[in-house]
Amino acid sequence: MNLEQILQEKFGHTEFRTGQKEIIQSVLEKRNVLAVLPTGAGKTLCYHFPSRLIDGMTIVVSPLLSLMEDQVHQLRAKGDKNVLQLNGMLTFEERKHVLNEINADTMLFLSPEMLANRKLLQRLASIKNGLFVVDEAHCISQWGHEFRTDYLRLKEVIKFLGNPSCLALTATATNKVEKDIIGQLEMDDPVIHRYSVNREHIKFFVHKAETKQLKLEYLKNCLKTLEKPAIIYAPTRSDTISLSRYIESLNAGLTAYYHGGMSKEDRLLVQHQFLNNELDIICATSAFGMGINKPDIRTVIHMHLPPSAEQFVQEAGRAGRDEAESAAVIIYTDEDKYIPLSFIDLEFPEEQELKVWLRTLKQLGQNNVSLPGDGEMSKILQAEEPQWKMLKFYLEKENIISGPVINERGISEQLFNKLNRQFSYRKLEKERKFEDMESLVQGKTCIRAGILRYFDEEKEAGIEKCCSACGLSINDVFSGNKNMQENRRLPIEQNGWKEELAQMLIGPKRRTIR
């Protein structure tokens, strides 16, 4: 059987999308592969497909828990029951169950913290491993968004599992990040498949407003023309709430908000409603997005400046996964830059703070205290938990912390200076990333060209009228306001709960109920 036939039979697609076949072929040849394919291009298929053919289990490391859960459930819902997952949220019993079930046909999603679990790895190593995948691989780069010692373990783990071939995938990698990924995974003789980050059918629009009020005014006008479904990104949780109230007041469509502080059940319900077209607009923080694979999102609006071009491209990339015309809009004011800048400020310790932290740690070490858990430790240091995790990351790298042991002898003036330098550097690096984002929108030059340049690409000639800087207006893309009419539900008071219940459980067709 040739690959196209398999694609048709097992995955129900008629043809490969750009890049997929090349990447899959390299993987089937057992090469180590780094694949850079734009958002929504179909990276999942690049490992799902080979996992069905190769001899041995496929392990997929996925950096974000919610992303992983969504992805696993989507794949299972499509009927592939060989897809399983292991993450820190599972109970002991559930974990045991999964470890019993895995076999050479399994495609197993792992969250990074699982990589530190020896026993679990031993179980994984007892099965033949065919392919090791790192999805969203930009996260493991030291320029990635999070500090996790677990990422440093990846290369050992690959060896421990008997050196299966390795596939790293991302949509957003500069040349620097690309090199870093290859280094982190110690990929031997890698094949690099790099495709343009550009997505032609997403059109970019930037609008700078003078005041917050005018920002909302502009949004209101936009919503008259822009098509739904739409995601509107806001910087904080409370912003998502007030924004959704505002949109409700405009009657611009059915709206809900979504942020990381909601209960898991409510988050899933909102997500389901959106996927089912029971909502037109979702107002969300960056907690929403990565796992969302809704093909027909027409519009993504940012009501602030994202902290980096990567994040902007990832979030805007939720739009138009069906390859139809879509819009990515940024509406900002000058003041918006202070929010990300102050977030960056909060992330790193002041010199004095760092001194106190190290002193406290030294004391703990001298008293032979074994290292407390992360929550406890951040309380002791009076630091935010991410701050402590970042410090821990560096201390582990310097061998000051190994497991629960604090090697207090290593805590010295010298160490302080080194850490302080590293933190200042990281901070600068982050500020620069934000500046890059800022200059994408502030310049009078083409936004698309700016994005491509950021990712070390040249803009191909021939994309005319591609963004607001090139003279495109929203009306050129969308003609009128199309609210989605399907799946509109009457309020439950209309027909009463009994009728509603009957419709849900028994269906409109055959109902012979009292």
Partner: protein, 352 residues
């Protein structure tokens, strides 16, 4: 003032300065520690305890300091709070606006985790049958929990009748149950359910039903759920489907994992000291486990640690002192009983 402030004021009023704000917070969130479980009984707030399980500590502290600032609360040294006369007035007004819904019993159904487990299973089972009804065999489940998914799958596999018949049966049972409720509560309950094209609504989306307050709305939903568990448990014959979602493997889920270990050893007849040795844990930790077990366990395996007679002496003393502080009870008893024995006696006292 929102429902949350009402609940916080209510609890601070009950505790009446005998516990720190931390103790009050644990009551609100239903912390599964022996101390808190006992406090719920002592301060007669068993029903409202555990009513805001996912309240963050920050949110709680914010709310308390706001009420301090407004003069509803006064603080005595060491984080003990009392209602001021202004606070009492406010609480009286709020008591007119908010009422604990009729069947709500946090201590019984939320604390143990029974109601959430029941709901997860039931709503996924419902979604599954509803999807079958429109021939959708594949759907994204409302619950991501693997054990719930496994449990429901098993239930579906064991069905004695065709799915369509099962749906009708479930429908009839639900109608039977919901009919006894006020219209609003039945509407609320049905609105939370998910079927193809009918995704459940969040409490925020349903808050228009109850004073625009999502938390208050949630309390009503939970109240219906508590009644459902109660009714179906009392009358399983009438609810062949609905009563099964409350099934819990013996001792499972109710106890914390570590207390469960201790429980197993106790059942094997090990003594407290032996368990300390085997598990390498401190006496106080094992004692906490035993208190936790005593609260939930009906078989009274702690009988050999304290007998009925001793227990009733202690309980009488507790009644007489009228205080909730263990120290005072201990003094009243002339130091004859240890703190552990007193706590154990109080723990075994069944729900009032």
């Amino acid at each position: 003032m929102s429902c949350l402030e009402w609940i916080i004021l209510t609890l601070i009023n009950r505790v009446n300065g005998q516990r720190t704000s931390g103790g009050v917070y644990h009551l609100l969130t239903g912390k599964r520690s022996a101390q808190t479980i006992q406090d719920a009984r002592l301060f007669d707030c068993y029903k409202i305890a555990g009513s805001v399980k996912n309240l963050s500590r920050e949110r709680f502290e914010d709310s308390v300091s706001l009420m301090l600032k407004k003069g509803f609360l006064s603080e005595s040294e060491g984080n003990y709070y009392l209602l001021t006369s202004k606070g009492k007035e406010v609480l009286q007004t709020l008591d007119k606006k908010y009422k604990l819904p009729a069947y709500f019993n946090g201590g019984k159904y939320e604390w143990s985790g029974l109601a959430p487990v029941y709901w997860e299973r039931f709503s996924l089972f419902f979604q599954t049958l509803a999807s079958f009804a429109v021939n959708e065999k594949q759907f994204i489940p409302v619950s991501y929990r693997l054990d719930t998914q496994r449990w429901v799958k098993q239930r579906i596999r064991e069905l004695q009748q065709p799915a369509a018949t099962a749906s009708e049966q479930l429908y009839n049972e639900l109608v039977e149950f919901l009919h006894q409720l006020p219209e609003r509560e039945a509407e609320l309950f049905v609105s939370r359910l998910t079927a193809p094209g009918h995704t459940g609504r969040t409490f925020d989306q349903l808050s228009y039903m109850y004073a625009g307050d999502p938390l208050y709305t949630k309390l009503f939903f939970q109240s219906v759920l508590h009644l459902l568990i109660k009714n179906t448990g009392e009358n399983p014959g009438k609810y062949p489907f609905l009563h099964t979602f409350a099934e819990i493997k013996k001792g499972k889920q109710i106890l914390t994992a570590s207390a469960e270990e201790t429980n197993k050893l106790l059942k094997k007849g090990k003594t407290l000291e032996e368990i300390m040795g085997i598990r390498g844990l401190k006496r106080s930790t094992i004692e906490d486990h035993i208190i936790e077990i005593a609260i939930y366990d009906k078989e009274n395996i702690s009988n050999h640690l304290i007998n009925e007679e001793e227990a009733s002496v202690i309980l009488r003393a507790a009644e007489e002192t009228g205080s909730k502080r263990l120290k005072q009870i201990k003094d009243k008893l002339g130091g004859k009983y240890s703190y552990f024995q007193i706590r154990l006696a109080l723990a075994r006292q069944r729900e009032r």
